[in-house]
Structures are given as structure tokens and as C-alpha cells.
């Protein structure tokens, strides 16, 4: 299935979780947060939250600013 991770289209296996999306991106597991379709997914739910085809996943971290 196709999903959007940080604006880029990616291919993930059917039934992939948020954790699979993070692995696809190569993101570290600490210091990041995830939103799927505009809703925050708490860390504790990453493994069990299944992604739907076309889901929009945002993976954010802290950068220099402010």
C-alpha cells in the first residue's frame, strides 16, 4: 500500500504499523513524535496503530529555532 511520510510517497506492506513507517524513514525512536492524518499517536501506540492506504504520517523532531 502507499502512504505519505513527511510528504513523500512510500510503499509499505499491508497492515504496516507506525513503527514500520518509522523504520522505513530511518528515524530514531527517541526525540521524535508522530501524527497520522492530523492526530498525535502516542509512543505507546506506535506498534499497534495500523496504517490505512493513503495515510499521511508526519514525523517531527526538535530543530534549531526560536
Amino acid at each position: 500500500m502507499h502512504v505519505w511520510i513527511n510528504g513523500d510517497q512510500r510503499e509499505l506492506g499491508a497492515g504496516a504499523s507506525v513503527l514500520d513507517a518509522l523504520a522505513e524513514l530511518g528515524a530514531p525512536s527517541s526525540g521524535v513524535a508522530v501524527a497520522v492524518d492530523g492526530e498525535v499517536v502516542p509512543r505507546a501506540g506506535w506498534a499497534d496503530t495500523r496504517l490505512a492506504d493513503g495515510a499521511r504520517i508526519e514525523v517531527l523532531t526538535a530543530v534549531q529555532g526560536g
Binding site: 530511518g26 521524535v32 513524535a33 523532531t61 526538535a62 530543530v63 534549531q64 526560536g66
Partner: protein
């Protein structure tokens, strides 16, 4: 360290407390604008800061979590901001992501109206502040130098108010000192002068006007020598705070001799 219990002696001993947290340094730093992390590190150390802002953005494999690792190594508390948000909804989502990523309930709430001025949108700002306070955040709103808006933000439950001296990154200093004084006079939460500082005298002025702290980034990170300017800002904030506490002389219209009158006696 931030997070230790607040005691009566802290209140008497002039320790800044925001939302129940002790903030050892009254100079809150930003990390934006530094050419690289080495320069930023030297500036942060020279500033003596204990609380420093970061922005939330899509993770980039090249930069990773570098700024976060730096702040943790220096023992500086992270203050995530909602920079770049234009609406209350965007700011609330960004704050929630920051809380999740950084494990802090602190947020510098920033909701700006347009890119040209970067001035806060007061209506969206107040809406976001109310939602985030309800959601358990310790909200530090970046606000206009408007005493009425500052009062409404305090009434909404914000832990501090952070009026601008002038627009972000302009270095124009404090354009309306009287408004800042009015905000200080009315506030029962800490007032942090946030944005517009260009040089050390302006940071000192903010403290002399009665602000509890100063938040700045560009004035240091884009200075010719960021480390030296960070040191200057540290001294300025301390000097301004001391002068405020000392009680300045009243302004007089005519001269008043400070030496004895030679004809006297």
C-alpha cells in the same frame, strides 16, 4: 536545576519561578540562526542559560536530533515552540507533538499572523492558549506588547506572558517601554521580554522595566561574535535586574548638584 521543589527562600531569594519550576537563569535563549552547533554550544555556555527554545519540524536524516542532544549534554531544559503556526489548530497539534517528542509540558506558544511582520495573531493565540491550558500544558505565550491581551492570556491560565519588544529578528529593541511597564504592573505571572532585542543595553532595559526574564536568539546567534554577545547579554540581564531591585533615582527636570555648595556654611 529546573524541576527542584520551590521553597519560600527561593521566592525571597529572587529566583525566577515559571509554572512551579525554578529557572536558575533569567536569560532564556533561542537556538535559531546559529551557523552551526559548535558556535551555538559556545554561545549557550557563555549565556549561562538554563532554558532554551527549539522548533518542531519534519525530521531530516542528515541533521537527526543534534540540537536536542546538545541541550541534554549541557543540562539545559528544552522549551519547544510552535513557530511557523498560523492558526490555533496548527499550534495545538504542534504543541502536542512537542510534548510527545520531548516529554515536557512546557510550550512557547507562537501563533503569527503573517510572514512580513511575524506579529502574533491575538485571536488565534488566545484560542490556542485556552485549549493548551485545558490540556495540561504550561503555556508561555509570545504576545504583542498589549496590556489587555496579556491580561486575557493570564486569565486563560498561562504560566507567564512574553510580550515582544519589537518584531522577531529586527533588533529594534523595545519600541514601547510604557506598554511593557503596564504589562509588568498588572501581571501576577512572570513577564518575559521576548523578541526584538538587538544589543545588551536593550536586555538591561527590559529588566529595568520590571520584566522577570529576557528571551532572545538572533541578537546572539547572528552577532559578529555570538559567544561574546551571549556573555554580554548575561551581564546585561543581571545588571538590569540588580538596578531594578536597587530602585533608580527619580528623573528631574533641572540639575541637582552632587557636591556641596561652596557658599554654604
Amino acid at each position: 536545576m529546573i524541576g527542584e521543589p520551590v521553597t519560600r527562600s527561593d521566592v525571597d531569594g529572587d529566583v525566577l519561578v515559571i509554572g512551579g519550576r525554578k529557572i536558575p537563569s533569567r536569560l532564556i535563549m533561542g537556538t535559531g540562526g546559529a551557523a552551526n552547533l559548535e558556535i551555538l554550544e559556545r554561545a549557550l555556555v557563555a549565556s549561562g542559560t538554563s532554558l532554551t527554545t527549539v522548533a518542531m519540524r519534519r525530521i531530516d536524516a542528515a541533521t537527526g536530533t543534534g540540537v536536542l542532544d546538545l541541550l541534554r549534554r549541557l543540562g539545559i531544559e528544552v522549551l519547544p515552540n510552535t513557530a511557523g503556526c498560523r492558526t490555533a489548530a496548527e499550534a495545538v497539534l504542534t504543541a502536542r507533538l512537542a510534548r510527545e517528542a520531548l516529554e515536557t509540558d512546557l510550550v512557547k506558544l507562537e501563533v503569527v499572523a503573517d510572514e512580513r511582520t511575524l506579529l502574533p495573531d491575538p485571536i488565534e493565540l488566545l484560542d490556542a492558549a485556552e485549549q493548551l491550558v485545558d490540556d495540561g500544558f504550561t503555556v508561555l505565550p509570545y504576545t504583542n506588547d498589549d496590556p489587555v491581551l496579556a491580561r486575557k492570556l493570564e486569565q486563560a491560565g498561562c504560566a507567564a506572558v512574553m510580550p515582544l519588544g519589537s518584531p522577531i529578528g529586527t533588533g529594534l529593541g523595545i519600541r514601547n517601554p510604557h506598554n511593557i511597564e503596564m504589562i509588568v504592573a498588572a501581571a501576577s505571572v512572570p513577564v518575559v521580554l521576548d523578541a526584538g532585542i538587538g544589543t545588551a543595553s536593550e536586555a538591561a532595559l527590559a529588566m529595568e522595566l520590571g520584566c522577570d526574564a529576557v528571551l532572545l536568539a538572533t541578537a546572539v546567534t547572528r552577532a559578529g561574535d555570538p559567544e561574546r554577545m551571549a556573555h554580554a547579554m548575561r551581564l546585561a540581564v543581571e545588571a538590569g535586574r540588580a538596578a531594578r531591585g536597587a530602585g533608580r533615582i527619580p528623573r528631574r527636570y533641572w540639575a541637582q548638584a552632587s557636591s556641596p555648595d561652596p557658599d554654604a556654611g
